[in-house]
Structures are given as structure tokens and as C-alpha cells.
Symmetry: C2
Subunit: 213 residues, 2 copies
DNA sequence: TAGATTGTTAATCGATTAACAATC
DNA sequence: TAGATTGTTAATCGATTAACAATC
């Protein structure tokens, strides 16, 4: 891994999946797995698994496989998840509230450290033990919080300015739930989650009754 | 488009984005757009836009561009969204409730026609005007509803059996929010949305203070 | 007509998979 | 040792981008 090396995004997505799968193996007390075991649980071709892992170093033992605990640790480090990762959440509506209370985040070492909204009736209230703050205070608040990841769960029409404020606060990694293409400076990483898009792709695949399997 | 032709998934994902963008153009009263206009709003290379669209037919006019309304209609038809698409939602927890009330679904012609849960304290209650039904009745209920798309918003440990029940009910297109790889028969289309995975990919991209832009 | 922009072909790029020597 | 499985190279596959003739 040379200095500025960035792994392919598909590889990173799979690494995250391997991590979840390894957490499962750990809790079952399994201590060694082969790439084929991972294939079975992660739904990823065994050759692909080995290729992905070998990009970051030889974590396995020829003829034996991978040590579950060690591999879990290695991947955690690659994804910078060996320590808790602080996250800002903007938008305390239905979706934002659901995300704030999503238990899997905590399990995988993410922690939502602040929730912001611009609705005066929400500011000051609490969700899941976190008090909702005014969006206007976001930049200021993050000076002490130092979060590097932000989630946008605001209406589409507010997403762009929310993103800009996050960037201003030094949050250069953004998970965007609004169906809008954000225009942000170089060096900002954005991942979009678009429910409508997902359903649309499924809709395309609907077969009429007469179609063969 | 030959009979059993299936477009590449990346193309379908982009088509859904074009649809959203075109809805925007329509509401602004724009009536013609070029592939470069779409590039600017959808964040997709203009050549890619033309390639995607030409897979389904020549919707544009050389030297002129694409008629907004006509293109919107064409894409709607391709994605089977020209009429309302019925959707079953399983899981009436925080995430499920947020999805049930998600306004963009309605805008883009999706309608959640039933919500299921296995918690006796929830069954019979209502969310967003839809009454929550027992999961045990899913197959039976869908005989009259005839939905072809289902959303899984249950805990990971319930996801597999939920998926199997959906398939039994003839719902072969599944949007899965549980961080589990579903094992289902051939011919079932699954799309996974994994918040933790998304955040993990972002986490990888975090730069340390000293790193150059 | 001159300018603009499509649809499509060809070139490039990148990701996935298969195969196998190395080796535990 | 014999069997298993890695790490890696080479082959395949597919997706993206550039370029341009056709043409409105």
C-alpha cells in the first residue's frame, strides 16, 4: 500500500461486508475461515475475496485460511474503524430519527455525536438521548466535536446548503439521503443513498405473469 | 430491445436519476434538454447519458436534444413506473415507519399498500394511515393486493425468513435493509441498502490532518 | 446555411474470474 | 506426506469515455 494509495470503491464495499460476516463468525466462536467460507456468507466469489485482501497484505496462511480475529482487526484498521468514529447527523425528521436510533451503527463503531435541525420546535428536544441543535451552530459545534463524517437527512431542497455547511465544518465525508446530486469541492467524498432509485431498479425487473423464469 | 433483454444495472440506476432530474426540469417549465444539461444535473457524463438512452431507442433529435416530457414518459415506461407501483413493507420499527412516511415514494409513483410486523403490540395500530398487519397474514393479504415489490426493514435475524415469505407471496423484487446476504431462489431480484457499509466506505476516505488535498 | 447535438463505433479503462505455482 | 488453500498472474468480461459522421 503506497502512501496516497486509494483502494477501488467496490473493494471497500466488500471489505465492509467481510467485516460484518467476520463479526458473525467471531460470535459463533469460529477461529479460522477460508475464502470459500467467506464466499458462502458474503456472497462474493472466493477469488475476489483473496484479491481484495491481498491488496492490503497477506493476511492468510497458505493451506490454512484466515484467522477470524486477526482478519477482523486488519479490516477494521483499513476502514479506520478500530476506534469509535464520530458522526454528525443533520435532519431530525422521520428518517433522521430512525438513523439516530439505528443499533447497528453502534455495533460497528460509529457514534452519532450530534443531531442538527432548523426547525425551532425541534431544537432543544432530544432523540435517543442526543439533544437537537440549531443547524446554524453546526460549524461551531464541530470545532470541539471534530467529527469527520456527516449524514444528510434533510429535504432535497436543503441538501446542497447543508452539505456546504458540513464541508465548512471540516466534514469531508458525507452520506447523503436526499435525491440530489451535490456539487462540492474536490476532495470531498459523497455517498448517495436513494430509496426511490433502489425501488425503481427493482420495478424494472418485475416480470409479467407470462414471462418464463 | 429484444424480448428477454435486461439492461445493465448501472444503466438502470442512472435512468432512475435521469427521471428525478427530468421531474425537476418539468416543474421549471423547461421543455428541451441536451445530454450536457443532463450531465450537469445528474452528474453523469454526457456520452454515458446518450448511450444509456440509445439502449432503449432514439428519444432525441439530432442537433436539438430531448423533449423533457416525452423523455420522462419514456423512462417511466422503461422502469414500469407509468402507473402506481404497489409495495409491501415488512417491519414497523423506526426505519420502517420512516419509509412508510417517505414523501418521495409517492411522488415517484410508489405506494406502500401494506405494512407487516410480528409484534402483537403493533399489529392493529396504524402508521401514516396504513394499518399494521400480522406477518403471518402476508401471503394471504398479497393475494388481493398483488404487490410485486417488498421492503425488508426487520432485524437481521429475521430477514431471511421474511424474504422467504415475500417470495412465497409472489414478491420477487426485494429491497433489503438488513445487513445480511439473503439466499433466495433464482429469479428473485434483491437490492441491499446497508447504512453501515456506506459509512465504512466514507470512514476509509478520512484524511489525517497532514495529508495534502 | 452554420451551429448544435444526437446515436454509434471504436478505444480505453477497470473490475471480475479462472488457473495454478507456492507452501503450510 | 497428501490435502488444502493462499497470493498472484493472466484471461475474460463489462462498463465508461472519446470521437465523429449523420442530420436537424
Amino acid at each position: 500500500m503506497p502512501d496516497g494509495y486509494k483502494a477501488p470503491v467496490p473493494t471497500l464495499e466488500r471489505l465492509a461486508t467481510y467485516l460484518t460476516v467476520l463479526t458473525g463468525f467471531k460470535s459463533k466462536g469460529v477461529d479460522t475461515v477460508s475464502s470459500i467460507d467467506i464466499e458462502q456468507h458474503a456472497g462474493v466469489n472466493a477469488a475476489q475475496v483473496r484479491k481484495d485482501l491481498s491488496l492490503f497484505g497477506g493476511f492468510g496462511k497458505t493451506g490454512v485460511g484466515y484467522n477470524v480475529t486477526a482478519l477482523h482487526e486488519h479490516i477494521s484498521k483499513i476502514l479506520k474503524l478500530e476506534h469509535t468514529q464520530r458522526v454528525l447527523l443533520v435532519g431530525a425528521g422521520n428518517l433522521g430519527s430512525a438513523l439516530a436510533g439505528y443499533p447497528a451503527l453502534r455495533t460497528e463503531n460509529f457514534k452519532i455525536v450530534a443531531v442538527f435541525d432548523n426547525n425551532p420546535r425541534k431544537i432543544g428536544a432530544e432523540i435517543w438521548g442526543i439533544s437537537i441543535k440549531d443547524i446554524a451552530s453546526l460549524v461551531d459545534e464541530n470545532r470541539s466535536l471534530g467529527a469527520k463524517i456527516g449524514i444528510i437527512a434533510v429535504p432535497a431542497s436543503w441538501a446542497q446548503q447543508t452539505a456546504e455547511r458540513l464541508v465548512e465544518a471540516g466534514v469531508l465525508n458525507i452520506l447523503n439521503f436526499a435525491p440530489v446530486v451535490l456539487r462540492l469541492p474536490e476532495g470531498v467524498t459523497v455517498r448517495n443513498v436513494d430509496f426511490v432509485q433502489e425501488l425503481a431498479v427493482l420495478s424494472y425487473h418485475i416480470r409479467s405473469e407470462s414471462e418464463p423464469g
